[in-house]
């Protein structure tokens, strides 16, 4: 049997997986505390849905039944050919439309699930990873305050991870569009994509790219000056925008929205949120606030939590469900936090007590004690073998299990703290581990 790792499909050892599960559980707790409900969607969508939106549709894994592959009659690609989802947003959009009569709006859902991208292996990217997404989806309309709420939930989520403060950078698509309009820049999409590379290619690179789009020097200067604006409060933002000396009217709606969202978040988490007009987000479907999040001191991680408001993504032509969502790439985040030493791998076992076994003939006595301890909520194992007690203690010690329980020849019970070496008589119906 082949036993090799497959590039792009990461797997964790038990202690690391325990840490990842801890992260997932903290996120889930925060999401539920904010009234979000958890759903799971099927792993597959029809090709038509996977190709409908966004930039990643080219990285899809299609499914094919082994039997048809073997028969040599491979099915032609059709719009209903199944592929693995590459994000949790496309499935959400479909789930909302499919179940719109059964759901209550605004529908606030979280989803922690695996996604797949058919990247080339040599790129060293994850081809399978877990995302944790929250979205708030309205029916017909969705108040601006939900763009505040989505950020608040994710800031709470990071706080629950206890990894120090994060910096969430926000922008507003309407404001960017307004700036483009006020500066008479026609190809807003191309300008956006150029600005989106700011962190990668720097101001000079962006300047060159914008010039090659046919922007005048004034326009390039305006775009770059705008992209360098950051602000912590609405009034700071308004001042800096005013300094661009652009016509006010095209900017008004986006500026108002970004100011309101910024001030609401400033009140909640000063120093953890700022407007940054270079945040553009690649995806076409965003229409309002867009978000990226970095861990200060670890900017090299890139954004660990991104998303935005989308007005038109969820629609069946007749009805429209505007939404706002944010997403954490859990697999990547945990890998980064572990490798940076910000999180540690757990010990490989959650067991607190190993009940030693004198000999196989009396194993049932040890099993009975383990059962009593477990019934009281204490994770307990019975020793897998009746080796010498020293070896049984070593079994516990290697796993980081803190206590070993002994049943004496006379039936008396005692428990040994491996770390301190102390051993004391104990009653399985009342003993508790020191925390």
């Amino acid at each position: 049997m082949s036993k090799r790792a497959i590039s792009g499909f990461p797997e964790l050892l038990p202690g690391e997986r325990s840490t990842e599960a801890w992260v997932e559980n903290r996120l889930q707790e925060v999401f539920e505390k904010h009234g979000f409900v958890g759903i799971q969607t099927r792993a597959v969508e029809p090709l038509s849905a996977l190709e409908a939106k966004g930039e990643t549709s080219k990285e899809v894994y299609l499914l094919e039944r082994l039997q048809s592959a073997k028969s040599g009659q491979r099915a032609a690609l059709r719009s209903d050919t199944l592929g693995l989802h590459f994000d949790l947003t496309v499935p959400l959009a479909r789930y909302v439309l499919q179940n719109s009569n059964a759901l209550l709006f605004p529908f606030k859902r979280y989803q922690i699930q695996k996604v797949w991208r058919g990247e080339r292996p040599q790129e060293g990217r994850f081809r399978e990873f877990t995302q944790a997404d929250i979205d708030i989806v309205g029916q017909g309309d969705l108040g601006l305050h939900h763009e505040v709420e989505a950020a608040e939930v994710m800031l709470d989520a990071f706080q629950a991870l206890n990894i120090g403060p994060v910096l969430m950078e926000i922008n507003n698509r309407k404001l960017l569009q307004g700036i483009a309009k006020a500066a008479n820049i026609d190809d807003f999409g191309a300008t956006l994509r150029a600005l989106d590379k700011f962190d990668k290619i720097g101001a000079d690179g962006v300047r060159q790219e914008l010039s090659s789009l046919g922007l005048s020097e004034t326009q390039v200067n305006t775009a770059l000056a705008a992209a360098e604006i950051t602000a912590e409060t609405g009034s700071e933002l308004r001042e800096k925008i005013a300094a661009l000396a652009l016509p006010a009217e095209p900017l008004a709606e986006g500026l108002d929205e970004l100011s309101v969202v910024l001030d609401a978040l400033y009140a909640f988490a000063p120093g953890q949120v700022r407007a940054s007009l270079r945040i553009a987000r690649g995806l076409d479907y965003y229409t309002g606030t867009v978000y990226e999040t970095v861990i200060p001191g670890h900017e090299g991680f890139g954004s660990v939590c991104s998303g935005g408001r989308y007005d038109e993504l969820v629609s069946d032509g007749r009805r429209t469900f505007p939404g706002v969502g944010l997403s954490i790439g859990v697999t990547r985040l945990v890998a980064l936090l572990l490798s940076a030493g910000i999180l540690q791998a757990d010990r490989p076992s959650k067991t607190v007590v190993v009940v030693a076994v004198k000999d196989e003939a009396t194993r049932s006595e040890s099993v009975a004690v383990a059962r009593v301890l477990r019934g009281r909520g204490i994770p307990t194992e019975t020793s897998p073998s009746a080796q010498k007690f020293g070896k049984q203690i070593r079994f516990a010690d290697r796993r980081g299990i803190p206590y070993v329980w002994f049943i004496g020849e006379d039936g008396s019970n005692s428990v040994k703290n491996i770390q301190t070496g102390e051993q004391e008589t104990a009653d399985p119906t009342s003993w508790s581990p020191q925390s």
Copy 2:
């Protein structure tokens, strides 16, 4: 956008999913209390691994990158072509071999994860579903008591689901093999497969099938008499086996093992475990105890928890890792329990309090109260709109949220219990919901 369900890929509404998640969490708690560690394996294995073992290899979904499918240059099937795993046992075997130096043995792991089977849609079977597996894998050897332990864990797991007693039926492959040998039945495999159909085609059907295999009438009678044996204790089992009047020696090892396992489980859960010699299990790789589990009164559900001991499954030719494992088909179990009314769908929200909003201008006051309540562990939402209070109460009521919080014009706080209609003044820093 297409919004149809896809046959075989079930999805749940939020309240149902909440119930399913509750089941998964109860199972996980029990597994961890028994010292099992959770792992996740990648969704894919190379075709060579998927085809190596067992009967389901024909139902595999293979992956193909969209770009290569589109290019018309579809890749030929190779041993390293990736396919989705159809169970969690093949991945475990590979994971153990791959990480044998980093794991501690016996390695007790649980795994709650999705699996996929490329069934034909018209068969109405699940093509994507969640399994909850436990396995205990030793290095070189694995004591018989772990065959008891695996059953004990799953019996505890079902107890934690609070769905009433289950009946676990066990058998032992060595005993079956011993009976075949003692009765001079050569084609043990075919005999097993015939016996495995006992529940489907009845004694007469099995008799016919065994005859067609060339068994004499005496042999058929022996096989059928054996298949009808059930016993709650080792001594009962020994008596009934003795009545078959077969040579004792070929049966001895299997009979000893099954008796020991049976007696140990009888002491733990009398009435919930019995030996049933018709339990054969389809898979080739079982070598010791095999398990099936039914819910009395709902035998039509079929087995809800099955597995067995396997000595040779995990091997790289040089080293062998014997194991024992049991598996629950969570998706199927939850669907059955919901449809039978044994479990109910949760309310669609875990929120306990909705903080009403007087008007959008004072939303921040409501947000602040919600934050205080949430900080005290109380799941709280702020009302999505500043509609009339009656409508805000209705928002909570439709979601089954029990409390609505009001901030008066004078800043005073009060909370209304929607069910009783009672409203009382309350302090967000100290108020708690009645449980």
